[in-house]
């Protein structure tokens, strides 16, 4: 499929027809479930206490993409190869830089050349565990995630046909794809399979286990006294456990915690371009496209108005390496994050989400004193173990597919 070509015809239609179409769907869904009904249903279902934090187990491996050492090795090569993308400059590792927490250390991720992204780059560490990937949970597996990352206009901007053609002209890849997948030529879907296999090995387990998990498994020396105090706050007074809970440190659900819009959208022309493009790309209504002044988050998927400004509860392991924080990178330190929660979801200047109606009732001023804030930060540090580093593999070279003699013979045979 040729994405750009397909989108085009859609775009023209989108401006006039699809926009109204979306409104209609939204109204239909509103009939099915009002916010009040949803809230009541949720309360009824909610267990009395959220699941406690538990150590990270093994990454789930889907039955249709088993891990083998050869597949993981191939996936690693592809993850680091910028030729998996539009102009051979921007691959996965370009925005998921090992030295920057396997993410990108700016508020908005760097974009495809000529663009900037509109969200913070997430770390790929532990991504294998998350059933809903991206800040707003729009991909349901690593495989689907990788595909949309490599093709998205402000990310990889690659097309299937050109990426497949490139790999076919790299002998090392031909050999490895054949070994791993048994095909004569590399096939684009197998690129996503291999990359996902590699990602599933990039976890905070084994020698990268985080102090919190050691502690939870019984090694009481793994946390300092201060961290243990912080843990009590996390599970109690500060209420973090309401959302950051269970094995994954996230309920994998969507909440509006009050993160204010990034001011860069007011000052940076390139960011304004991407902002508007994303409204299109995510299927906004015409009205929404005109009006949007911040990221509507989970709304783009659900099209329910009470999902505006909601994002997936961010997992907390490995965050010591992945600043800045939140979907739009507005906070540069964990101290700022704690201050934000302590104010009940407001930043230093008193700014909060533009969608105050959907803001979670769980987010309210916490009344933490300085000591308690420090304890909580110390505890957050226990979610990260040793830094995961890796030498970047060399890119296997291109080689002509045919010899001059073969070409001459074909010319003669014409």
């Amino acid at each position: 499929m040729h994405m750009k070509k397909v989108t085009l015809s859609l775009v023209a239609a989108a401006v006039v027809t699809v926009f109204t179409g979306c409104d209609a769907t939204a109204t239909k869904q509103a009939h099915a479930a009002t916010p009040e009904k949803m809230a009541v249903a949720k309360m009824a279902m909610q267990p009395s206490a959220p699941p406690p934090l538990t150590p990270l187990g093994k990454a789930p491996i889907p039955p249709d993409n088993k891990l083998t050492p050869a597949k993981v090795e191939l996936g690693k090569l592809l993850f680091f190869d910028p030729r998996v993308g539009g102009d051979a400059s921007t691959g996965c590792s370009t925005c998921h830089e090992p030295e920057q927490g396997w993410a990108w250390a700016e508020d908005f991720s760097r974009g495809y050349p000529g663009t900037v992204h509109w969200r913070n780059s997430q770390s790929i560490i532990n991504s294998a565990y998350f059933p809903r990937q991206f800040w707003a949970g729009s991909a349901s597996s690593n495989e689907k995630q990788a595909k949309s990352a490599a093709k998205g206009g402000v990310a990889g901007n690659g097309e299937d046909d050109i990426m497949e053609a490139r790999l076919a002209l790299i002998p090392e890849y031909r050999k490895r794809f054949k070994e791993v997948f048994g095909t004569e030529w590399p096939i684009i879907d197998d690129v996503w399979h291999a990359i996902s296999a590699f990602e599933r090995t990039m976890n905070t387990t084994g020698k990268y286990e985080v102090p919190l998990d050691k502690y939870l498994k019984g090694d009481k020396s793994a946390l300092s006294k201060q961290q243990v105090r912080g843990m009590k706050l996390f599970n109690g007074k500060a209420g973090c456990i309401n959302c950051h809970n269970g094995e994954l440190t996230t309920d994998s659900d969507f909440h509006n915690i009050g993160v204010p819009p990034n001011k860069r959208w007011e000052e940076d022309g390139l960011a304004q371009i991407t902002f508007r493009f994303e409204q299109y790309a995510k299927g906004q209504t015409e009205e929404g496209y005109r009006a949007a002044k911040s990221d509507w988050g989970f709304y783009y998927r659900s099209k329910n108005k009470w999902d505006k400004g909601k994002f997936r509860t961010a997992p907390l392991r490995y965050i010591a390496y992945t600043a800045p924080y939140m979907h739009n990178g507005v906070f540069y330190t964990l101290e700022e994050v704690i201050d934000f929660y302590n104010r009940g979801g407001f930043d230093e200047e008193g700014r909060t989400t533009l969608f105050t109606k959907t803001k979670s009732a769980l987010i309210k001023p916490l009344g933490l004193n300085d000591q308690e804030k420090e304890d909580l930060v110390a505890f957050l540090e226990a979610f990260s173990g040793p830094e995961i580093t890796m030498e970047k593999p060399e890119q296997p070279p291109y080689a002509p597919l045919f010899t001059l003699a073969e070409l001459k013979a074909a010319q003669e045979a014409k």
């Binding site: 750009k4 051979a88 206009g153 097309e159 046909d161 010319q411």
Partner: protein, 368 residues
């Protein structure tokens, strides 16, 4: 996708006919007179001009239309094989765009037979030409106050990707031959003798006829393959992506440009290419779909020996037995089909583009 391609194929086959050879008699062919005038909307064409030279219309903002269609080269590529979008090469010569609005069928293989709007879209979106997601393009254009004003002045209102694809073709209409000796009646004696040969002994008129000197049909002249298409993986990958997307069988093993076969999938059409216009050749060397012939003298030698080697070669091509003088006269005629270069401000946007996108002021208050 399959549906779209098939429909395209049937349509094109109808437009082009199947290149069935007619017997050679000059009188049967549309005369090679002057070109008809085109009506041009000035404001739209001016906008199209700025767009044509603007690199921000490509995915990574590194190539403009003019990167491959170079004004000094008659809006063709100076290389035998066109450059590609960064990270890619190309497998064909970029066609000259002078008089392109007079054509009805486009590309060397004639795969687009609708309009220049579609042709522009193909150039903008194709992976190895400009690789542009047109939704991003639209938002880029909207971010430039000069464009916002120009779109308004041109009557398009708010910039949109649809109007970009209308404005560029309007500009392409301005690229027309001017003051060619053939049109002004100032041909040399040698060129006049060449014209006779062109219509007569040379048999060129069989395919190169009408004011554009093309029947806009596909023929196999036996131009040899350019091996650089396959020996340079940058070019070969673009070729593979192209043939894969077009649904050419066995594309990984293909060692030749399929040409018009791409449109019909009929074996007999393998290696046929659309007859190009012969205007403005002075600027647009090297020649043929793959730039394999460097000079006009070389082209005449090629035809003098009856074209190249191909079992499917057109029956219209025979050794011509032209004398040295006749060959010179024919070249002189071909040269007389070229007019003034289209390299002044009238055709080329020479003002600089902003190096950064200005932020829209008061962003939170104004609608997007």
């Amino acid at each position: 996708m399959g549906v779209r391609v098939t429909t395209g194929r049937t349509l094109l086959a109808a437009v082009l006919g199947f290149g069935v050879a007619l017997s050679a008699q000059a009188a049967e062919y549309p005369d090679i007179g002057p070109l008809p005038q085109l009506k041009i909307n000035k404001a739209k064409a001016e906008l199209g001009k700025r767009l044509f030279f603007d690199k921000r219309l490509s995915g990574d903002a590194a190539v403009a239309c003019a990167t491959c269609h170079v004004p000094e080269k008659g809006y063709a590529s100076k290389e035998a094989l066109s450059p590609g979008y960064p990270g890619n090469g190309h497998f064909r010569n970029a066609s000259s765009l002078i008089n392109v609005a007079h054509r009805k069928v486009w590309n060397w293989d004639g795969r687009i037979g609708t309009n220049l709007n579609d042709m522009t879209r193909e150039m903008l979106t194709e992976d190895y030409t400009m690789n542009m997601d047109m939704r991003i393009m639209q938002e880029r254009v909207k971010q430039d106050p000069v464009y916002v004003r120009m779109f308004k002045d041109a009557g398009y209102g708010e910039p949109s990707n649809g109007s970009v694809r209308k404005a560029i073709p309007e500009y392409l209409k301005t690229l027309t031959s001017a003051n060619a000796p053939f049109d002004t009646g100032k041909m040399s004696a040698s060129a006049k003798r060449g014209m006779k040969l062109f219509k007569g002994k040379g048999g060129c008129i069989q395919c190169h006829n009408g004011p554009m000197m093309t029947d806009q049909k596909a023929h196999n002249t036996g131009v040899p393959e350019n091996f650089d298409v396959f020996m340079d993986p940058m070019n070969h990958q673009a070729f593979i992506a192209f043939t894969m997307f077009q649904g050419i069988p066995n594309y990984m093993n293909l060692k030749r440009d399929p040409g018009y076969y791409n449109v019909t999938l009929l074996d007999e059409d393998m290696g046929k290419f659309l007859t190009p216009s012969l205007r403005e050749l002075k600027y647009s060397a090297p020649y043929m779909h793959n730039g394999m012939i460097k000079t006009l003298a070389g082209v005449v030698d090629f035809y003098n020996q009856g074209g190249g080697k191909d079992s499917r070669k057109s029956g219209l091509l025979k050794p011509l037995k032209l004398s040295g003088k006749e060959k010179k006269d024919l070249v002189a005629f071909l040269e007389a089909l070229s007019g003034d270069p289209l390299t002044s401000n009238k055709h080329v946007w020479k003002q600089p583009y902003p190096s950064e996108y200005e932020a829209i002021a008061n962003w939170t208050k104004v609608p997007n």
